[in-house]
Symmetry: C2
Subunit: 659 residues, 2 copies
């Protein structure tokens, strides 16, 4: 990888060393946040994380070999690439759509991220050619949007609430930053800076400027990225403006730009100022992208009020509105949150992009505060809904990630029983292009004096002077060994996950106490030498997880979880036993086994259960069902629907314990 | 009531006398249908059914005193009435909507139906004035539609698939027939005949005619009504044309008029010819209105193939796609059927209009074939979803009738937690205006030589020479006594409901055997004398009803039913016990009791149960829930949400029986 002049600071706060909060404690103190922000160092040495674990590494490879090439092909076939030639004329078929730019941008970002992990001259050339094309569509004034240049040029900035104009700009900025980091070329970066400068001239608090903000958030976090990359403070200020202006009175969407009704504002998180928002509402992807932007701006500007607002929304979201899989957004209507505890399984939305957004948010809050709950949510998302949206083959996608599909589940729009190759609105496939290459960055945070192991997926991590190899089959095996390949003085900080009840750490064969007072971290600072070995053992056992009794959809049910992995019962492994017919005992005899037809090393779980049946075919009858003994098999939720058409259920009925 | 020259023949087939099918037997033989059709008598003596039962009679009264006046007021306030003045001009606010005519027509039909039961000069004058206004909007060529006269006159007949033009025409026809029957005036009837004549000139198989049919069915059954009232065969022929043309190739909606996609055709039942359709698909109200028209045309033309198609669709609908409440349509998306056994409770649609339509269909198939299953479905609808859509006060309405509402249930559009006063698309409130006055007609079918008691709700029934008074508190009490007030020779045919396991009949104090061989009917033909008493005793006991195991939403659950009445647990009666937390024992100790705050005579049911609780507030936890003993109360589903905000559940968890 090339040496960058200025790099995006991936681990810009490392608060565990001085004020890491205890497990379960609130970590969102003003002081903590301020310290974190001050801790931030510019020009930190480059961190490299190369995964070789059994779950993420194969996904990265299928992304490189399949997802990126196939997404590029779809973008070409559907006209998304050629649209940047600006040759569409009224009357022509297939007009560019208002969100096409973002799809292309996400693929470009993915290509750049992948190049950072895996140099590939052919891919680099293709990326550069595409960047040339994209930049060629930039107008003299810096404007860069296909739809509002070729199709409706007179409508620029006229419908922020619905038309994704600033959203597309944000994705271009993210792509440009990644391109700069991967290639060292400033071409794309400079182009989006000119665009950002134009946007900063159009929007702002000054007379003659629009006091608007995007209906679909994303540009806020992108502008902070641009600020971190270029050091240009005006991008941070614009991000802060977009965040603080949102929901203020007079309301831009309902009073200034358009006449959206009060009921339409929450879908865009514009019903009240963000600092006053208590509940995660509206379109789930928009919401988490906004909260990411809030966190970024809070950290960069030292604004504990804004950070606390983001934390409050994260808490509501994850403690009242999140599926056990890390999925968020309970309804397809508006792709949105609904009410606390409304988590239907068969009509879940749980959009893949929303899970990706929740991973981005959790990672930001983890970095900003060190709070263990953020790492727990991050891990939940990464191993479950974060991967269920894409097939093992890398070219089929769920938009909505249901938690229950039975023989009668209807398909509506993007709510599908089977993954599809592409969608008219193909945000999820293109989001995977950029998400999968970044998985390592979610697991490890490394700086010259700290290696923070948040998720101990097997990898090689280097930063500062040191290089560490992490081995094991996590998350299927709780035994993780770390070998110092190249030494140095640094703090090793191992996360003890919230799901883990017993763990041990040995250093060079001897039990080693943590120097941290917090139970969610094992830490040790010393001069590590090449060949030093650290053995982390996290006890992994299958358990039943019961949802809060207010989750009516799950009444009488529990999910099987082992470590961070949520399991589901898929009909492929259980012929003749419809998942809804199964009743687990209160204390199942869980047994680990091989999962047929799934990747080597995947751990499936079996146990005895009862299954309901009835010889009666009537729709309604007085005869109670009968029961038979069965042995059922559960597989990781993220891997379902990789072996053909099937039914699936995460939450299974559990027999009440004997009185 | 005035003597009519020609009356709609309410009991046009009475097949029980000669070929009544046995309980559970298929009754749809070609021969049976032909006999039935031949049995039809013109100018049959007027039948009068005046209910005084505890369930239907108060609904009729609240309809008369509240629903009709309040619906009329809403129609006025929203501009629906004044729209018939045709004074709307482009640029004016509040343009008439494409379905407004149908709302007004249904209120007029309701007023006319009510006048037949309850003479009321003031209401009659108001009705006649409104009829004058409606008829004044008729164009010289006979056309009568506000929207396509005042708003988009150039678009007449241009978008049958979506624009409700023929649907509105059908409702005007039904209203006009009722007005004629109630008042003897031919004014409205003649106007709709002129309109029907115009429609018959526009649509048909001849060169130059459109081979179209409505996207929203209704006119088919209305045309048969018009035929039965006027004897004009061309209306029957037009109904038959609309039915047989539907779904033929080239497809009118996808190839002739517009380019609807193959996926859009089933919502309009236009994906294949109706005689080939095997499953009830698409928009539920449209579907059942179509099947009504198919049945009517089949009976009138002696077309067993068409009748069998209607029966096949009824079977699929009621044996695979019907809620226990008689509700149909499992999703708000397209207000439609989905898949066999897909019957979600919390996201049910079960539109009030669809239940009304299923009552209309069941009644038609019962009359056409005598099959007991049609009476069972009819009764299920009438006592449950048919009434849940309207408040006891008569002025609040459910559009969608959920079977489960908990503290977290979100509201989307017309899917509400509480009944509302009116809707933008207010089909359901106005449908109740015409449905409730007709309840007696659903219970009894009477002719000079037969009194068919299908639902023994207390009433006075007269036909031919005889008059019979039926007393009792059915459906809350199974003891029904019939007293001959005025005698005559006729067959008394008492339905033995499908839910009833034991019954007895006494005539003048002595046990009396049925002369029918079929277990679903007790019949006796004799010269009945004034003062003769018949005591019918239907054993009523609360039972648990289990859905088919393929209904995943109900896995591990059952509903309480007593006679035809489906019960629900409403939070009002069960403070501190969320319905989803309750587990009924497999053999509950059911006890009948008074239902607080509900009408005198309403029977509630109590039983002991377990309730789950948890002191833990985490969304996901390893700790299993704990249980406590509770005593729960269930009330009739049709009466829920009449005592303020509440949660409610029809299907309750049931403990598996001991092994």
């Amino acid at each position: 990888m090339r040496q960058l002049e200025k790099t995006e600071n991936l681990t810009y706060t490392i608060p565990m060393q001085h004020s890491s909060p205890g497990k379960g404690e609130k970590s969102e103190s003003e002081e903590n946040m301020k310290d974190s922000a001050m801790d931030r160092k510019e020009n930190q040495p480059e961190t490299e994380v190369i995964l070789h674990d059994p779950v993420f590494a194969p996904r990265r490879e299928s992304c490189r070999k399949v997802t990126i090439p196939s997404s590029l092909r779809r973008c070409r076939e559907t006209g998304r690439i050629d649209a940047f030639r600006l040759q569409w004329k009224p009357g022509d078929p297939n007009p560019p759509h208002i969100f096409w730019d973002s799809d292309v941008a996400k693929v470009l970002e993915g290509m750049a991220e992948m190049l950072m992990l895996h140099p590939d001259p052919a891919m680099e050339k293709e990326l550069n050619d595409l960047v040339d094309l994209v930049v060629s569509a930039q107008q003299k004034d810096g404007y860069l949007n296909v739809y509002f240049t070729a199709v409706e040029p007179e409508k620029r900035w006229s419908n922020l609430s619905d038309h994704h104009e600033l959203y597309c700009a944000g994705h271009l900025m993210e792509a440009a930053v990644a391109h700069f980091r991967a290639t060292g070329s400033r071409k794309f970066l400079d182009a989006v800076c000119r665009y950002a400068d134009l946007i900063a001239s159009v929007f702002g608090p000054e007379p003659g400027q629009k006091r608007g903000y995007p209906g679909h958030e994303e540009i806020e976090l992108a502008l902070v990225k641009l600020y971190r990359t270029t050091g240009e403070k005006r991008y941070l200020e614009l991000a802060k403006f977009f965040i603080d202006e949102r929901g203020k009175s007079p309301n831009y969407f309902s009073e200034t730009e358009r006449q959206l009704s009060p009921e339409q504002l929450p879908n865009r998180q514009a019903h009240q100022p963000v600092r006053e928002q208590e509940k995660a509402v509206g379109h789930a992807v928009r919401a988490v992208y906004l909260y990411c932007g809030m966190t970024d701006v809070a950290v960069e500007t030292g604004d504990p009020g804004l950070l606390n607002a983001a934390i409050r929304l994260f808490d509501n979201l994850t403690e009242r509105r999140m599926y056990i899989t890390g999925g968020i957004g309970s309804t397809s209507i508006g792709e949105a949150f609904t009410e606390d505890f409304d988590l239907p399984n068969a009509t879940a939305y749980a959009e893949s992009c929303a899970a990706i957004g929740l991973a981005l948010l959790s990672k930001r809050l983890l970095d900003a505060t060190g709070g263990p709950k953020y790492a727990d949510v991050l891990e939940r998302v990464l191993y479950n809904n974060g991967l269920s949206g894409i097939s093992l083959s890398g070219d089929e996608f769920f938009y909505a990630n249901l938690l229950e599909v039975n023989a009668s589940t209807p398909e509506h729009g993007v709510t599908c029983r089977r993954r599809r190759k592409w969608f008219g609105c193909s945000c999820c496939p293109t989001n995977y292009c950029r998400f999968l290459p970044q998985l390592g960055r979610f697991c490890y945070a490394a700086s010259a004096d700290l290696l923070r192991v948040d998720i101990p997926a097997a990898a090689t991590v280097s930063a500062g002077t040191y290089k560490v190899r992490i081995d094991g089959n996590y998350p299927y095996d709780g035994a993780v060994s770390l070998t110092i390949l190249r030494g140095g003085r640094f703090t090793l900080s191992l996360r003890i996950p919230g799901w883990c009840e017993h763990f041990s750490v040995e250093v060079n064969g001897s039990a080693a106490e943590s120097s941290s007072a917090t139970p969610s971290r094992w830490t040790m600072t010393r001069e590590w030498k090449s060949g030093d070995r650290i053995e982390l053992n996290l006890e992994l056992k299958p358990v039943l997880i019961y949802p809060h009794p207010s989750v009516a959809a799950d009444a009488g049910r529990a999910a099987i979880q082992r470590g961070p992995v949520v399991y589901c019962m898929e009909s492929v492994d259980n012929p003749g036993i419809p998942p809804q017919s199964v009743i687990l005992p209160a204390d199942p005899d869980f047994r680990l086994c091989r999962a047929e037809g799934l990747p080597e090393g995947t751990v499936a779980i079996r146990c005895g259960a009862k299954a309901e049946f009835s010889p009666d075919s009537a729709l309604y009858r007085k005869t109670p069902p009968r029961f038979r003994d069965v042995d059922v098999c559960a597989i990781p939720y993220a891997l379902w629907q990789n072996r053909g058409e099937s039914s699936m259920q995460v939450f299974l009925r559990v027999a009440p314990p004997e009185p």
